[in-house]
Amino acid sequence: MSTPQTRTFRLSTDAWAILLATALGLVIRFGLLKSIAW
């Protein structure tokens, strides 16, 4: 009988930062967010 295996998926901080920046870049590039105040 096989036991269920758990596979964990982990990304480095660099990869997460690149993913977040890509998502934000796409959101802004395609006009979903027009401007961000500072």
């Binding site: 269920p4 964990t8 990304l11 901080t13 660099d14 997460w16 930062a17 870049g25 802004i28 027009k34």
Partner: protein, 386 residues
Amino acid sequence: MAASVNLPDLRTEYPPHAPGLAPAERASLLGLLPGIALLAVVGLAGKFVERFLNTWTKAHHITFPNIEYVLWAILFGIIIANTVGVPRIFRAGVATYEFWLKAGIILLGARFILGDILKLGGISLILVFIAFAFSLTFMTWLGRTFNLGPQLTTLLAVGSSVCGVSAIIATQGAIDADEEDSSTAIAAILALGALSLFTFPLIGHALHMSDRAYGLWAGLAVDNTAEATAAGALYSDAAGKFAVLAKTCRNALIGFVVLGYAIQWVRKGLASRAATKQIDNKGAFLWKKFPKFVLGFLAVSLLATLGASSNLTIAALGFSKPQLVALGNLSRWAFLLTFAGVGLRTNLKDLFKQGARPFVVGALGEIAIAAITLALVLTANHFYHL
């Protein structure tokens, strides 16, 4: 087969980052939220105080220098961390400050065109090489004079010349240094980084340095990326931008420096079998140690450069001006969270409980490196009008 996805592992070790201490617990995305909210509250409180002071002093006709929110955010963080402490529920989220730092640097690419990066990056790289050669020689001499072990001396030299904590951690494995040596080197580098936050802007203002020159100096002399970014931003928003650029150049060199040390250790016959094996494939070793977020920074800058092209077809591939402003502001928000994290993770007790000798060696080395990089930047400024 059941596949569970643990999202996300954004944390680094919670203060004082020393290897061997228990790391922050793994947290789910939900578990990170309280700490991230705390970063936002502390950062926003800093921003509020900056605005309030500006408005209030103007309304009362008081001449008062503009103090960037960065200082308030860091101070509030330090006060919280060293008085009431950061409760457990916030720790995992607070430790994400390094993630926000990297995201902020990538997005900061929107405020640079590639030409600027190549010019200033090229100058920075030359200055980094000179400063590195100097600091290596000086730190080795200091380490011998103060009877520190070769491993600890090497870690202090790498930490003070290349890139702070991550360089120390990367080198630790390559030269088989023990955890106590790296904890001591990390504590010394962090303590001196905290001190530089308060001394660098004062020196910059006293010398009437331009934003570019000051930013380059902070990026070249302050060791940890978060502290270098903060030291630049404490001077001005523009100086913060140039500090990040210079620091990113230093970060990009980390793999080469660690590889150099690893090879030297193997040649001397001091390396363990595991440490020797990891440099068999030098290309893979360099790629592993290369900070990948630098690629994101360059990619965003490329898109900013394309957007500024006079050729409409090429410009359509990149970001428009309003889009770049939005990305630049997102980068500022990410840095706001980072600076709050810098304060919240500064544990004064831990920073000063290390032995006096490594701290003295670190401090003397840092002062010498700060002085030589200042001289280098002022010379470069004279010839290249930075």
